[in-house]
Symmetry: C2
C-alpha cells in the first residue's frame, strides 16, 4: 500500500494507473461501514484509493472538529488488510481565500443543512477537490449520509464530473444501531437510548408494509418512539429530497436526526 501525504505524491502514485480506480473518501475512524465500502471498491476496480481527511470546512463553529475521533494506526491497518492500493492522507487540502463549492440554495439548506448551515458547502468543496485529484472511475458512499449522497450525486450531474457514484447500504450493529464514527461518544446508557432512532425507522417500515402511507401518521408514530430524545427532525421525502404527503415505495427516504446526550446522531431508511 502506497501512503500519499501530498497531492503530488498522490498523482505520482496514480499517473501510471490504467485500470479503473475505485475511491472511498473518509474522515478516518474507520468502522465496518467503511470496510464494506472498501471491499465493494476492491471487487469492482483494478485500483482502490482511500482518503482519510478530517475536513475542517464541513464542521461548523462549536462542532466536534477538534475532538472528532482520530485513529491513524488502526485506520492504516484496516486499509492495508482490505487491499487498498493507495491511501491518501493529506495534512491539509486548503490554502487561504480559496474558491469553494456552494450547495444548492434549497436542497443544501434543509434538514442536515438547516441544522448545520454551510456543512454541505464544505462537504461538496472537499469532494470536488478529491474527485479532481484522484480522478476515480467509481466513488463509494454510504446511504447513512443520505442527503450528502444526494447532493454529491447532484454535483456530479450538475458539473458533468466523469465518475460513477455507487451508494452502499448502511451497515448496522446486530441490534440495529447504524454504525457511525461518532458512536464512540456514547456511554452505555446512551448507547441504549440511541436505539430509538433505528426503532423509529423500523416502525415506519412496518407501517408502510401494513398499508399506512400517510407521512403525517408515520411521523407521529416515530416521534412517539423517539421520546424523550431531543429530536432535530423526522422527515419523509422523495429521492429529490422534496417533502411528500404519501409514501411512494421506490421513491421515499425516511430520515431522523436526534441528540443523545450531547451526541448528534442521524439515521434513515430507503423505501
Amino acid at each position: 500500500m502506497i501512503i500519499a501525504r501530498t497531492l503530488t505524491q498522490l498523482r505520482e502514485a496514480l499517473d501510471g494507473v490504467s485500470e479503473s480506480i475505485g475511491f472511498v473518501p473518509t474522515m478516518g475512524a474507520l468502522h465496518s461501514g467503511h470496510r464494506t465500502l472498501i471491499e465493494t471498491a476492491r471487487n469492482e476496480n483494478g485500483c482502490v484509493v482511500v482518503s482519510i481527511y478530517v475536513n475542517p470546512t464541513q464542521f461548523l463553529a462549536g462542532e466536534d472538529l477538534s475532538s472528532y475521533p482520530r485513529k491513524e494506526e488502526a485506520d492504516f491497518k484496516i486499509c492495508e488488510l482490505s487491499g487498498v492500493d493507495v491511501l491518501f492522507y493529506p495534512q491539509t487540502l486548503y490554502g487561504t481565500d480559496e474558491v469553494s463549492v456552494k450547495a444548492p440554495d434549497i436542497r443544501g439548506y434543509i434538514l442536515e443543512g438547516a441544522s448545520r448551515p454551510g456543512h454541505f458547502d464544505g462537504v461538496l468543496t472537499v469532494v470536488m477537490k478529491l474527485f479532481n485529484s484522484v480522478r476515480p472511475t467509481r466513488a463509494y458512499f454510504g446511504k447513512k449520509d443520505a442527503q450528502q449522497l444526494a447532493l454529491i450525486t447532484q454535483m456530479v450531474e450538475n458539473f458533468g464530473i466523469p465518475v460513477a457514484i455507487r451508494p452502499q447500504e448502511t451497515v448496522r450493529e446486530s441490534d440495529g444501531l447504524a454504525l457511525s464514527s461518532r458512536n464512540v461518544y456514547l456511554n452505555p446508557s446512551q448507547r441504549q437510548e440511541a436505539l430509538k432512532l433505528s426503532c423509529a425507522l423500523k416502525e415506519s417500515t412496518k407501517l408502510v408494509m401494513g398499508g399506512v402511507l400517510s407521512t403525517a401518521t408515520i411521523t407521529e408514530a416515530m416521534y412517539a418512539i423517539l421520546e424523550p430524545l431531543e429530536v432535530e427532525y423526522v422527515a419523509i421525502v422523495n429521492r429529490a429530497f422534496e417533502a411528500i404527503s404519501e409514501v411512494v415505495v421506490g421513491d421515499t427516504i425516511v430520515l431522523v436526526a436526534a441528540r443523545v446526550g450531547t451526541t448528534r446522531l442521524i439515521d434513515n431508511v430507503w423505501m
Copy 2:
C-alpha cells in the same frame, strides 16, 4: 466541424478523441481576440473545441444579458474557417436549485467583483461545468479579463483540475482600443472617448519605464487622462491581485474600469 448542442452530443463528439484537446470558452460575438485564442489552440492541440454560451449566471440583475450581442451565423463561420473541430453551442447548462462555485471571499469580491458582486461566482460555475464536460488538455483565455483569468487559474489550482491554463495577450485595434464584444455598443464619439482607457494604461507603462514606481503617482496620472469618464476603478496590483504601493516589474498588473456613456469597459496592462 461538429456542432454539439447538448452535453450528450458533446461527449459523443469527444469520447473517441485521443489527441490533446485545446478549449476556447466564449460567449460568442467573436472578434479577433477570440480568433487569436482559437489559432493558438489550433497550433498547440490535435483537437480544438470552442464553446459559445451566453452564461446567464455571470450577469447581474440590470446588466446586458438580454441585449448582449448574439451573432450565431458569423460566429459559426469564424469557427469553421479557423479549423475548429467541435463547436459546443448549448441551449442551457443549468437546471433548478443547482450546486454552484463560489469565488474566493476576498479576491472574488474586489475590483470587478465589487462592481459586479456575484459575477465571478457565475463565471467560475460555468467554467467548472465546461472543464468537466470538455475535459481539455489546455484552455485559452485572454489577459483582457485579467481578474477572471487569475480566478480561473486559482480554481484550477485549488481543485486540482487537470487542465493547463494558457493566458493570451489582449488584442487591440490599431489605435489601442482593446477588442471587446461590448465595443459594438459605442457610437463614433464614444468610440473616441473609449481610447482614454488604453491611453491611461500607456501612460502607466511610460511612467514605469521612466523610473516612476509609486502606484499613487501612477494612479493620479491615469485619472487625469481618464477624465471626464465615469471611472469605476484604477488599480495597481500584484499577480495575486493584492494592492501594492510600488510597481515590481514582472509581478504587476495595472487595471482600469470605466463607463463610456452607458457602456462599461475594462482594460489592463501586465508589467
